[in-house]
Subunit: 233 residues, 2 copies
């Protein structure tokens, strides 16, 4: 946590509470990143042990969410923060909700590693992994922007979600073509499709995290704004 950037926003006892909570958020973010990375590795390497580890580790993320959410409510009630500080707490509450759901999506992806694929189908898993690595990087950049409350980076990353969407669309077309050519493969391909969709959602949720950074720093909800509007905030 780079406290320099936050220094102008916070003060005193509230500062200490906040640093503790932000450390927990970063710990949660690190866990979620690892879950996603492990899920992708499990799928592309058909590593069932690793997939099972992802499934059994999800509870840690859930526990952190409950813990951080409680802490945030406690801090608001006890410290009665003013507008800017309060926005930061609200941004944290929303961020951890998205992180928890990203953990759930990683779990869904890991389940694909438990299925059987033919060697030709494994090429599709490699393409899924490529999309996944790009989404993972997007998540990492979003969490970095969050850790530093870096609004310029948040706006820049936010708009790069379009690239992921295009890559997702391309993979989806490939998967549909594959199903049309070999209808017997539909059940397996559908599970790859669900994973691709899960990755697209992780991209959306990472984008949400960027929006919370902008909301905290600028005091504006940008969810329904164009990129131009965002830049002019």
């Amino acid at each position: 946590m780079n406290s320099l950037n936050l220094g102008r926003h916070i003060s005193g006892q509230f500062n200490e509470d906040l640093e503790r909570v932000l450390n927990l958020v970063m710990q949660m973010g690190g866990l979620v990143e690892k879950q996603l990375s492990d899920a992708l590795t499990a799928v592309v390497e058909s590593d069932q042990e690793m997939a099972k580890a992802v499934l059994s580790n999800d509870y840690q993320i859930n526990a952190l969410e409950v813990n951080i959410d409680d802490e945030c409510t406690r801090i608001i009630a006890k410290r009665q923060p003013a507008a800017g500080d309060l926005r930061l707490i609200m941004a944290i509450v929303k961020t951890i909700a998205d992180l928890e759901r990203i953990g759930d999506e990683a779990e869904k992806i890991a389940r694909v590693a438990l299925e059987d694929f033919s060697s030709r189908q494994k090429d599709l898993l490699t393409n899924l992994d490529n999309l996944g690595r790009r989404v993972l990087e997007f998540l990492q950049l979003s969490l970095d922007a969050f850790a530093r409350m870096d609004v310029e980076t948040a706006i820049k990353i936010h708009s790069s979600d379009e690239k992921i969407d295009r890559e997702y669309e391309a993979l989806m077309r490939q998967l549909m073509t594959y199903m049309m050519e070999d209808p017997r493969s539909i059940p397996q391909i559908m599970s790859v499709i669900w994973s691709a969709r899960a990755l697209e959602r992780i991209g959306d949720r990472s984008q949400n995290i960027c929006e919370y950074v902008i909301y905290f720093v600028k005091g504006k909800v940008v969810r329904h704004m164009t990129l131009e509007d965002m830049k002019n905030l």
Copy 2:
């Protein structure tokens, strides 16, 4: 808004602020219900005009979310509510985030009405509509439980999501079989599949709303609890 049930939780000026916000939440909930209902009607009746109306009305839901979110932050900063009152505000903030996303899912469903389907495929749309009507009812019950902060009903509805999941699974199997039998139909069927998935997600988000009611009344996060644990709270 049944203020009897809330009477014991709130007081004074905070009470007035809260009633205003809760009215906005119910207004937002009503809009979201209507969007979902209209999207389903548009799909089953291939009513393109109605579908376009759903797409163009989504901004109202987005505007309400931003408005209510701002109001909630303002109320916390101004009234500095104590634990129970604060939990209610947090429950509202989370509920409107889910409602906004339900609106987005309704929009996705409406887009299906803009596609062409053969008469045989239209049977699948009827099945989609059946699932949709059940999900809509589930959403309505969840919002009723929220309006009355009725924790018993919230727990009961929460567990009935399983029925929707079973109906969703049955529809999904039917759609996969259809694709395997007629691979040329895959692009159309995939759009029905995305709509079914959107409905399943609306069910999950309605379930979230029940969880916020339980969180407010019991002070416990039940997201990762079993039904038995919930009943013993």
